[in-house]
């Protein structure tokens, strides 16, 4: 019961994050929505494991958190440098 109630709240938050991803005027809004959606998905997988009585799902949640992070960094790097191989971001001539 209590897992189902939490799951309902999480699904509402997912819909809201998705809404921001669809509305988002700039590409950064969409990436932010994607990143947040990923975090909520991690929680949803963890709760789903409890809901179905299979706590093995936690390994998948851990993996999802990891992939979410690496994916966000990859998208941001591609947006900023135009390719994924930029050798030294520190030495890049940007002012920021």
């Amino acid at each position: 019961m209590m897992f189902a109630a939490t799951m309902a709240g999480i699904l509402v938050a997912m819909v809201l994050a998705l809404l921001r991803g669809l509305l988002g005027p700039t590409v950064y809004d969409r990436i932010l929505a994607l990143n947040t959606f990923g975090t909520i998905t991690v929680l949803a997988i963890a709760i789903l494991g409890f809901l179905m009585g299979r706590p093995d799902f936690l390994d998948i949640a851990l993996l999802y958190a990891l992939i979410n992070f690496v994916g966000t960094i990859a998208i941001l790097k591609y947006l900023r440098y135009g390719d994924l191989s930029a050798s030294s971001p520190d030495a890049d001539g940007s002012k920021r």
């Binding site: 897992f3 938050a13 947040t36 909520i40 706590p55 992070f69 947006l79």
Partner: protein, 109 residues
């Protein structure tokens, strides 16, 4: 019994914080303010739900894995938010700021 209560409280609080963060993400005006609302989901919502699940599981392997999920989120979510905000700033998104000459660049000036 007390554990049940704490678990309920944490799970409900976490779910409510997630919904509040989601509402904030839809309502706030620009990407920087929205990242604050996303921060509510990333920290408050995530940690409270993980805490509630851990209270439910007791001292087992499940709690250890929940702890590692929390630790990973603790390190990665602020990093990706920081990278995102930095990228938005570099990408030419100007933050909406109410003009206030007294506080801008407060101590640095």
């Amino acid at each position: 019994m007390i554990v049940e209560m704490v678990s309920w409280l944490c799970l409900m609080g976490g779910a409510l914080l997630c919904v509040a963060g989601g509402i904030g993400m839809v309502r706030f005006p620009d990407v920087y303010t929205r990242s604050h609302a996303a921060g509510v989901i990333d920290t408050g919502g995530a940690f409270m739900i993980l805490l509630g699940l851990a209270a439910q599981a007791g001292f087992t392997l499940i709690t250890v894995k929940l702890f590692f999920i929390g630790l990973l989120l603790f390190f990665t979510t602020p990093t990706s938010t920081h990278a995102l905000v930095k990228g938005a700033l570099f990408g030419g998104q100007n933050p909406i700021v109410r003009d206030s000459p007294d506080k801008d660049n407060g101590v640095a000036s």
